[in-house]
Symmetry: none
Subunit: 402 residues, 2 copies
């Protein structure tokens, strides 16, 4: 599909806005899903005149992580392009990553007599964590011929980037986590899963012991656990694939990271969804494609807070007219996966989507919800088909064959 | 997909019940299908709160046999895993089959002057047939270095297992039937379709003439016709694939045979559907997954008996509450293919399915029927996707990617 679509790309001046309400799909509690319960007059009106459907990011029954969910929305087959968690974390923290790098997502942990007492070092405050990370960076900048960069994160989290003097093969995670995922156990060793990974492991082991030496007298954060040890996957750039100059507008690092992975522009945007929309307005003339990410919908779903998730949806609904005023040629509203409050977790359920453009049937769905979108003209489809549909609606795909 | 699903399996204590109403899908006569005509208050109530859809066992327009229909339900791509009819027959008759075996489904036939007068030897009584088969077994136990086992079947049918001293390559049917499918013709020779099969043919030919010698004085059953000459296909075990301890509850040999092929436990269960349900109750604590097969729905469909098929459906409906009382975490009700009484045969029409679990939308189908299931959240899908969906609903699949 990729090469067929790429071969048919034509450019024009159309504007495309993709709004991702993270984890928007839900399940009924007392008969209604979060979308059905929320107050969404604007979304519902839009659904009535849009092409609606539900999409499946990975496959039947498969629950997508945020990485596969977004890659799939951007048109990349998520099983083909797998992203290590370390890469996501590093990109999200604004760390530049090249083909020479191994990135690692780390936790500060509390260890006693070689046994992990707390895998998250009591979820120490971000401030405190940041200072410790800076202290480590001062002490360690190089291990053998490998440059080492430490990036502070939220609470007990941080990332490490190991920059080797030569390019590494693109792989997902070919070294196992040192985090045993349970307290009361000793940390694991970074176990290599292929030949190439064996060269990398000694550097990681040295890093672990050098860092432990620096922080050994900390009360809580006296050890580190490594997860998602990974190098950069070989993903073609979004702009080249689709001929679109793309801007990511996301107030959470992870999602800027995901957009950066496909080489969208990813300036740091902070604040509320209103701030994101203001940013969209300000930059509207300078790009063809806008990825606007609304995180909080998912967060409340993960907490099992049905009302809270519905409220975040209602809030977005109230802001939607500001996006409509921009009159994008194609407007897509959807999620990257479902996060039913009922399940307090991501789920495998297909995600409702609407595509508004001048070239849709419409009239099949009476609201923007799981059940109403199921009645729509797009049916149930695999998420990577979304981008070709969007490009077609933007009249950016030529005819195939004579 | 297979390896993705396998890589995400996690175990828990959930119970899954898959009820297969054989050939349940139908077509309208006087405006209603068998499912629409039947009295099904319990199935209809369940459909209202379940995930409904229709599934396609093989492909658009392809009519599945019982083998492909069931393998597809069990999550195996039926074009990839093809089963010889001889294997099915042997397994169904309780014959153990190994990689060293060639199995053949045989008919007793009446032959006169080298021409077949009756392909089924007047459908001789099972008792009589059994005695003849036992007589053959007494006379023949070995051909060259190949052990030969005869298994009596219903009426004119029986099976032969040829056990070679070395393993054979897993293949479907690479030797042609000797049954010309028409009376008034001579039996065919077992024609080999590849090099490997050429070594096997002389044994089959010797068997045919040795058996003919034993039964030549029989009035009706004086010759045999061979069909579905086949070795064991290379199918991964259900339990390993999905991490499920599985029990097949089927009162017909063929369906126990199919379940045995994927290494489910297949004790002999006899009697009615009520007996099958009693068996389910008795074994409910000892397994994770239960395949309950209801044969008679199909039988009446094959006979073109619309009322009879609808009655068998109504009968099952009345028994359904007993299954619901067990409170399975996931209950699936469907068929292995359609058998419209209108067509007196299996057909290509997608098969209605409902999945009941705590994690469904529901509310889209008002009854369990072809037309109402088409409105459901599962849409139209390829049958091998059913098992991943079922595992997801049982919370037995981990998230894919971070």
């Amino acid at each position: 599909m990729k090469s067929l679509v790429s071969s048919l790309i034509q450019k024009n001046s159309s504007k495309i806005v993709l709004v991702v309400l993270d984890g928007v799909g839900g399940l009924p509690i007392n008969g209604k899903t979060e979308l059905e319960y929320a107050n969404t007059p604007n979304l519902d009106a839009l659904a009535k005149v849009s092409a609606c459907g539900v999409h499946m990011p990975v496959d039947f029954g498969i629950t997508p992580g945020s990485g596969p969910g977004h890659l799939s929305l951007f048109g990349y087959e998520p099983v083909e392009f797998q992203i290590g968690r370390g890469i996501l974390e590093a990109l999200g923290l604004g760390v530049e990553v090249t083909r020479n790098d191994i990135t690692v997502r780390c936790n500060y942990a509390t260890i006693k007599d070689g046994i992990i007492v707390d895998r998250r070092a009591g979820r120490i405050a971000t401030d405190k964590s940041k200072k410790i990370t800076e202290r480590i960076q001062e002490a360690i900048t190089k291990i053998d011929n490998v440059d080492v960069l430490f990036a502070p994160g939220m609470e007990h989290r941080f990332a490490i980037r190991f920059r080797f003097p030569h390019p590494l093969k693109p792989t997902a995670s070919l070294i196992e986590d040192t985090d045993p995922q349970k307290e009361g156990k000793a940390p694991l060793r970074p176990n290599p899963l292929n030949e190439e990974a064996k060269q990398i492991v000694p550097v990681l082991e040295k890093a672990i012991s050098m860092i432990a030496e620096v922080i050994k007298s900390e009360e809580k954060a006296n050890f580190i656990l490594m997860r998602g040890i990974s190098s950069l996957p070989d993903i073609p750039a979004f702009s080249e694939r689709y001929g679109l100059k793309a801007l990511a507008i996301a107030n959470y690092p992870m999602y800027r990271g995901l957009a950066k992975l496909v080489q969208m522009d990813t300036p740091t945007v902070e604040g509320t969804v209103q701030d994101e929309i203001d940013f969209l307005k300000k930059n509207y003339n300078d790009y063809d494609f806008f990825f606007v990410h609304v995180k909080k919908v998912d967060s409340y779903g993960e907490d099992g807070n049905f009302e809270g998730k519905a409220e975040r949806i209602s809030e977005f609904d109230a802001l939607l007219p500001q996006i409509l005023e921009l009159k994008p040629d194609v407007l897509i509203i959807t999620g990257d996966h479902s996060t039913p409050a009922l399940m307090k977790a991501h789920s495998w359920h297909p995600v409702p989507v609407l595509i508004k453009s001048p070239y849709v049937l419409g009239g099949l769905s009476s609201a923007f919800s799981e059940r109403e979108c199921l009645k729509g003209e797009l049916g149930i489809f695999h998420t990577p088909h979304l981008m070709p549909l969007v490009l077609a609606n933007a009249l950016r795909l030529k005819k195939f064959g004579a």
